[in-house]
Symmetry: C2
Subunit: 744 residues, 2 copies
Amino acid sequence: SIKIIGQYTNKDAQAYFAYDSKKSFGVTVSHLRFGDKAIKSTYLITAPDFVSCSTHSYIGRYDLLKGIKEGGVFLLNSPWSKEEAFSHLTRDMQETIINKKIKFYNIDAESLIEKQPGLRGKGANTVMMVAYFKVSGIIPFEQALEGMREMTKKTFKKKGDDVVNMNLALIDAAVDACEEVIVPASLDGVCSADPVKFISDDASEFAKKIIEPSMRQKGDDIPVSAMSVDGVIPTGTSCLEKRAIAPRVPHWNSEACIQCGICASACPHAAIRTKLIEKENLKDAPESFNTIEAKPNANGEHFKVQVYCKDCTGCGVCVDQCPANKNPEKQALTWSTIEKEEAACEVVNEKFFDELPDNVMGKNTTKTIKGAMLRKPLFEFSGACAGCGETPYVKLVSQLFGENAIVANATGCSSIYSGTFPTIPYTTTKAGRGPAWANSLFEDNAEFGFGMRLAVEQNRDTLRTFAQKVIENEKTPADLREALTEALTHFDNSKTEEAVAAQDKAKAVLAKYADVDCADLAKVRELQDYFTDKSVWIIGGDGWANDIGYGGIDHVLAQNKNVNILVLDTEVYSNTGGQASKSTPTGAVAKFATGGKKTYKKNMGLMSMSYGYVYVASVALGADRAQTLKAFQEAEAYDGPSIIFAYAPCIAHGIDMSKTQTEQKRAVEAGYFPLYRYNPANEQPFSWDAKDPKGSYQEFIKSEGRYKQLAKTNPDAAEELYQKAEEDAAKRMAVFKAIGELIK
Amino acid sequence: SIKIIGQYTNKDAQAYFAYDSKKSFGVTVSHLRFGDKAIKSTYLITAPDFVSCSTHSYIGRYDLLKGIKEGGVFLLNSPWSKEEAFSHLTRDMQETIINKKIKFYNIDAESLIEKQPGLRGKGANTVMMVAYFKVSGIIPFEQALEGMREMTKKTFKKKGDDVVNMNLALIDAAVDACEEVIVPASLDGVCSADPVKFISDDASEFAKKIIEPSMRQKGDDIPVSAMSVDGVIPTGTSCLEKRAIAPRVPHWNSEACIQCGICASACPHAAIRTKLIEKENLKDAPESFNTIEAKPNANGEHFKVQVYCKDCTGCGVCVDQCPANKNPEKQALTWSTIEKEEAACEVVNEKFFDELPDNVMGKNTTKTIKGAMLRKPLFEFSGACAGCGETPYVKLVSQLFGENAIVANATGCSSIYSGTFPTIPYTTTKAGRGPAWANSLFEDNAEFGFGMRLAVEQNRDTLRTFAQKVIENEKTPADLREALTEALTHFDNSKTEEAVAAQDKAKAVLAKYADVDCADLAKVRELQDYFTDKSVWIIGGDGWANDIGYGGIDHVLAQNKNVNILVLDTEVYSNTGGQASKSTPTGAVAKFATGGKKTYKKNMGLMSMSYGYVYVASVALGADRAQTLKAFQEAEAYDGPSIIFAYAPCIAHGIDMSKTQTEQKRAVEAGYFPLYRYNPANEQPFSWDAKDPKGSYQEFIKSEGRYKQLAKTNPDAAEELYQKAEEDAAKRMAVFKAIGELIK
Ligand SMILES: Cc1ncc(C[n+]2csc(CCOP(=O)(O)OP(=O)(O)O)c2C)c(N)n1
Ligand SMILES: Cc1ncc(C[n+]2csc(CCOP(=O)(O)OP(=O)(O)O)c2C)c(N)n1
Ligand code: SF4
Ligand code: SF4
Ligand code: SF4
Ligand code: SF4
Ligand code: SF4
Ligand code: SF4
């Protein structure tokens, strides 16, 4: 709208946008001003003439009509008719509309968009724009229409005539679709919607004082005095959001399920999960709580797939990946909606599922994906894009090692979706164990994590020394001496079940003597968490790893300390909109490489291997889940530096985001992305884990937008670069396949 | 002295040291204060009671007695007797001594040191210390003597009993060696020394106003207004210094010389040079100017080896390396002294040699070391340590590419010896062409040089565009059009003799039209130097390359631009005293790795090769001069990024510095340092250039102080680490030898 007014009229225009940091379905508030005089307001709008709401789910969540002027206009996108729309507003909105004599219009954008299936659900903004010009009368509607048409042609030209035409058709359809909603004269007998409750009454102070207002877009009202003095904030809070943003959610059909756990491993949002449930725990299950008998079965456990509807983004990755979805007659995962699932008591089921004991393994172990997926994800409901290729890896780390993990996160998508204030996707077990997380700078993250490792070692050394002192002290009571001695027995192998039991015991006995005034004992108490060694994870994107943080990574790898580096390889700087990194392969189009990247994808795996004492793996979850799982476990177990390069499809790739896991498989099969592990602990350290390419390299890259678009903008260069891309990849593969013999 | 007074008396002591930045024979002024009261002076001494001069060559150079107090003491180290010493002072010193009633003592330290040959010339400080205590009477001499003995035992303990005993013997010998010099009552008929003339009368303003006072240690007196406003200072000034510091200098015996040029290639200081001289140019030669007939011979040229006595450091590398020195009866290079050589007119010879035409090649080309050494070094007389392993490589770059070189220098030894204010070792040809040099920061040097490359490309593009415009302009005179057209013909291959001739012609014609008022022409004139492409060299040490600047190097290599990176690999941070870098090999003792380095020497060569389009070479001049030469030439010729790892023995290695070139040979023969070249321009890019190891790895490392000392401090760990060092090196070699097949 602002562009059209700015370009096609004499009016002055100004636009401020206030974003949140969610990458999927984030909230954007556009503050737009128009006028015949120059605009000099350098602040957001507090008293609007016109309020437009593009998603009816915002009703009851945000104070939509705050400050609206007497006689103003409210435009809503909802499926409701002009008769019912008013009754779907909250009481205070209804009062404002009546008291301030607001004109209320509604348009059903989704129904118009559905008629253009090629738009794949996109176009709400276009519809709202048409409605805006229709209703506001800010400029003659014919003039606006012409402007919108021209703009549409310009904007979508690159995407082809089809897309242009569908958008033009959408504009035409929207012209007469806007209805003035019937507003009753009084509220007597008029229904209204309840405000959405974000935070339950038994939630923490932090949730009430910080999260609640932030979620309501009232973060600016929080006083500084309410903030944490040292920047530490609680984890386990993303589950409070229940954003209910998914236009579609999967429904589990238990009878078709083969209990593979793939849906849970693939979901970028931890919104679909699997659990084993011991029989006696099913006693109090709600009637709607369907389960199936677990296979294999140890003690009559049941198996369940649970969808967390209000946390799901509707990305479709689980549905795409479910192996029991091949037969269209009998599918394990089918599409439903939040409303339907809620009606089918899925929210009640979810609550019961959530409260059931976690990590019941039955006959399974974490050596299989199925087994690993029986563990509770300690990374859930992040704000990553729907379908993101990065988050499943972070979730996997949390499931396997989360209870003892400390994470150093480089700036990038992962720092945004992992550390979005005020809710944090990292969470804890019911016993309160879970990852600690921090983000320093883009460039120094490896060093930051290395420092964590040194601190852990220092603290553990100190703990051992002081525990020894207490043990040797004659005055120490026998039970304390015994408990500490036992805990120290497990000091060097401190994450086994036995070890954890001994540590818990020691902590309990320490608590018993909390009042004893002894400096040595106090030190042991202070450091008691360090009886368990920590698993240090240093996480970031390929831009961090290959470019800006590479000097640090190289230095940290060389120091031969036990840290685990996870490189989420989207082959571009995703968080800032897709700039080329040294990991961008030949021929790919990216910002700063709009003519296709001319140089080779940096072979950081080989470079890391050259040290000989660094564990190195290259994985793609969707291509080989077992290999990925193995690599993560080997990396963690290796008593030295480890680095994993994990292939992560991304919105920047120009692909169907419901197929990000399948895309990984295609990439590996085309010989595009290598799978290997280099484990210095093995006699024969290198293993090449991919099968010989069976797909066509060219076909693969030409199916992705980031490569395809070059053929449109520069066809000659494209063919040459595609060829070079294939050769470069082939070279890389050849090096790897032969390298096993070399670097031992 | 200060330590002894501080430790063995109740007096307070204070010491300030003022150093210059020369690494060999630099000047240090020690400002020492003692007293019974606490010392609170926070400034240097301006009115000393006592002046001690450790080198008689300082007489006439520095204002040694400046500010000395009435009745003070002057102590000199010189070979002169008490009768003659006074007459060797300058007139103003003599006057000061008489007028201020200064007591003047002399001691001949060198004659005492010579009696302890195991000290290899070291010990002047010890002798001067004894003399100081004897003469000053600051504390009872017996007490001082005891202190000196104890200190000596402590200081040299690590080096073995032998060294301790020799130093104790030196102390004993010094006790009675100090003589009071006879000072005449008046100066009538007394001889005196002339002040040393640093700068000739026809020298530049810069030399007179900046260099002269700096050389006289009066740099602090130069006003800021005299300094260059943009920091640019002239090159070609180190030759003004003529420090005459060498206790011994080589003498060329022409009859034994086989004209190989090795002495010139090996000299770290460019103080021994070879030239071909065309016959007619010998006409005016001084009688003492001996030459031999050149072989091979084109037109009756003569060959000459010239020693620049006053620039030589006496390091001995040339004498060690001369292949015609095997037969003790008939050696091409034998030892002499500056005095003897001066008497034999070598200074006159040098002047004549210097003024002869440079770069006369006869039948030679730069494809051989002999040929390359016929070119004038454009890097000369730096302040590097005597025998330094780094400088011969820098000199080689200057000889081969110096006329068109731009150098970006990382902080480190090379930035110190290359950019020592106010004299600069980089110099020019007689025609005024030579390297431009700059030093930015330690960490960003690769980026700094990369920026130079981009600037050169930008300037050349602009030049080409504007030259084209001038050519196409109807008003352009024919000769200018022709000259510019010809210069542009050579634009893409701009360093050939023909190209340079065309460029010179174009510049001459441009000068002719200097008055024409045309903006396009002005631009061409401004950028005329860019008709010749530049050779960009990015130079630094292994600490820079492997650690602190590595992120930048990696990024620059990846950009695929034509830059040449030279890594001077001393395997430690030399400039700051020998800290471990990632290039330090397993087992070597360095600062921060005093127990021997535990990890592998980083294989940066392999890492660089992994790009596939980076020229990579590993060289050791003393091991294979031809391979080194080839690598430098290939790197420069390669139209893309190049990196050369050059092995450089250093004082930090604990070796005989007269054998730094031989040490390189030993290192390669022991399989310690690899020789290879990876040239992406070749069909088969990789070539392994070292022969199979014939020396023993263990023997080699145990012969160097940096390894050997571990066996003393920690024998058990030493054996294990030595073993690991050998294995690590063997692994590296195996990788390289097989890699040729892999990375193509
Ligand atoms: C030193 C520095 N430069 C640039 C940025 C801006 N920045 C923030 S995130 C980001 C991109 C991160 O890309 P990548 O490391 O590939 O991670 P991804 O977002 O793809 O997961 C950039 C450039 C920054 N924060 N710090
Ligand atoms: C960022 C930074 N860190 C440290 C220093 C101090 N410093 C100056 S030179 C030097 C050592 C250089 O070592 P190397 O690169 O190996 O070169 P060499 O002296 O061995 O030739 C150091 C540490 C600095 N100048 N800048
Ligand atoms: S994969 Fe996508 S659609 Fe499936 S549960 Fe997770 S978020 Fe929802
Ligand atoms: S992916 Fe499909 S078959 Fe596998 S557990 Fe999930 S729903 Fe069941
Ligand atoms: S990596 Fe890509 S898909 Fe994932 S959150 Fe970032 S931009 Fe979105
Ligand atoms: S002694 Fe050293 S400095 Fe002197 S000429 Fe020989 S190599 Fe050069
Ligand atoms: S090294 Fe010896 S033989 Fe060779 S040129 Fe020099 S002096 Fe002559
Ligand atoms: S590299 Fe070593 S020998 Fe050379 S100048 Fe530096 S410290 Fe001296």
